[in-house]
């Protein structure tokens, strides 16, 4: 399982490194979304608002949706999925590998956008650094959930528009817990409670993914 996971993760990341979609398409989109949220708050609130953590996670949700979609589009060439299936790879390993690759991509975007939040929305730098571990765990949980839901929509008609409808409800608890732990880091209160929630969410999504990914991929 672990070996398959490494293989799949390496394959996805290699494709990403060669195509540079994250760098040239997704990150600019994320930056623009962050700027737009500042504009939406208005000049009076953009720099002073406590909405920074929430907006950061909202932008990360959209970035994650793009990346999940991308993670399955690269396998949409006719015959790719079939040939992956005939390789007899362990589905749980495939799930872990795809989650891992997505996780690395989300971590990279998360770091950039976190810096952007500190810069543009004036969220405290110290707080953001304290929140960083919980941000990484939340994004990891997001990638596990996203991989599972991405597999549900892969190859369906209008997969790109179907994905948000199915995935965003699953992301809602992550958004809440992530935002609260980030805010708690900014105000130095009750950080551990939210930490634990996102950690449990990560375990839950990875567990459910290992159990159910095989069901989705069986033919």
């Amino acid at each position: 399982m672990i070996r398959t996971a490494w293989l799949v993760a390496k394959k996805d990341l290699l494709i990403e490194r060669r195509s540079r979609v994250l760098l040239w398409q997704v990150l600019p989109f994320g930056a623009m979304a962050l700027l737009l949220s500042g504009l939406a708050l208005g000049p009076a609130h953009a720099g002073t608002s406590s909405a920074g953590p929430g907006l950061f996670y909202l932008v990360m949700l959209f970035v994650a949706l793009l990346m999940i979609n991308r993670s399955y589009v690269i396998e949409s060439t006719p015959g790719t999925r079939a040939s992956v299936q005939t390789l007899g790879l362990d589905p749980a390993g495939v799930f872990l590998g795809k989650s891992l690759a997505l996780c690395v991509e989300l971590w990279l975007s998360g770091l950039v956008l976190l810096a952007g939040t500190v810069l543009v929305l004036h969220t405290g730098l110290h707080g953001a650094l304290v929140a960083l571990p919980s941000v990484l765990v939340t994004l990891a949980a997001m990638s596990a959930a996203g991989t599972l839901y991405g597999a549900l929509t892969a190859g369906a008609q209008g997969a790109a528009t179907l994905l948000p409808v199915l995935t965003l409800p699953a992301f809602a608890p992550l958004l809440v817990a992530g935002e609260r732990s980030f805010s708690a880091a900014l105000t130095h209160s009750g950080l551990w409670e939210w930490w634990l929630i996102v950690a449990v969410a990560l375990v839950a999504y990875v567990g459910v993914g290992i159990l159910l990914y095989g069901v989705l991929e069986e033919s």
Binding site: L148, L152, T153, A156, Q157, G158, A159, L162, V165, L166, L168, P169, A170, A172, V208, L212, V215, L216, E218
Partner: protein, 240 residues
């Protein structure tokens, strides 16, 4: 014989139960000490929510599990899950609407960001998502498998909604019927009417489910007939 009789009686009994509920609820039961006549929503909203969350979403979930379990796998299960989920969407929307109508005069707002309301709204999106997922897949096996997995994943939300009023302090009231100490918090004739409403709306669900299921079977057979006919036409073209 019994099956036929119960099938024939399902509709009339449902209507009778609901008519009785409305009569008792609107004319016979007394107004509440605090809520006055607003209490009459008690005979609609909890029962509708019960059907939405437990009966219909539960039916869809169990049918989905049975579909995924190899020993009970059949398209009947898939069809039941689909039809139950469709009815569930109707009841979740009704839950939100009746709750909103009740919330405005009692709480003072149509909507509040409390745990129960928010999680119920999310369940509504999940149920709609389930139907969207079905429409997006043409291959029947793939569709059945994917939607079954999605239904099971979505069902995790149901216990969260159920326990939300216990786990968190919510604006929504705590449980009236399924209280932790098994004590019914409604008095006298109001209690009986409340319980009758649960029976009535549950029967309504099964009635709707049966009708929807029949419709689905008919639709599938029509599709098959049209396909057969088209094939036959093509064959004749070849012969001519």
């Amino acid at each position: 014989m019994i099956k036929q009789l119960s099938q024939r009686l399902l509709g009339p009994v449902t209507l009778l139960c609901l008519a009785l509920t409305f009569w008792l609820g609107l004319w016979v039961t007394p107004p509440d000490r605090v809520q006055g006549n607003l209490v009459r929503l008690l005979y609609v909203h909890p029962a509708v929510a019960w059907v939405a969350l437990y009966v219909s979403f539960g039916t869809a979930t169990i049918a989905s599990i049975l579909y995924l379990w190899k020993r009970t796998r059949s398209f009947t299960m898939d069809r039941i899950a689909h039809c139950a989920m469709e009815v569930s969407v109707v009841f979740i929307v009704l839950t939100l609407i009746t709750g909103s109508i009740w919330g405005r005069p009692t709480w003072g707002v149509w909507w509040a960001w409390d745990a129960r309301l928010t999680s119920t709204a999310i369940l509504g999106v999940l149920a709609v998502g389930y139907l969207a997922l079905r429409r997006a897949n043409d291959d029947s096996t793939l569709r059945a498998r994917r939607s079954a997995v999605f239904a099971i994943l979505s069902a995790i939300n149901v216990p969260i909604i159920h326990f939300s009023v216990q786990w968190w302090k919510t604006l929504h009231q705590g449980a009236t019927v399924f209280t932790s100490n098994r004590q019914l918090l409604v008095h006298g004739s109001m209690a009986w009417t409340l319980l009758l409403s649960f029976v009535g709306f549950t029967l309504l669900f099964f009635w709707l489910l049966r009708a929807r299921y029949r419709l689905e079977v008919l639709r599938e057979s029509t599709q098959q007939m049209m396909l057969d006919e088209a094939l036959l036409l093509r064959q004749r073209e070849g012969v001519m």
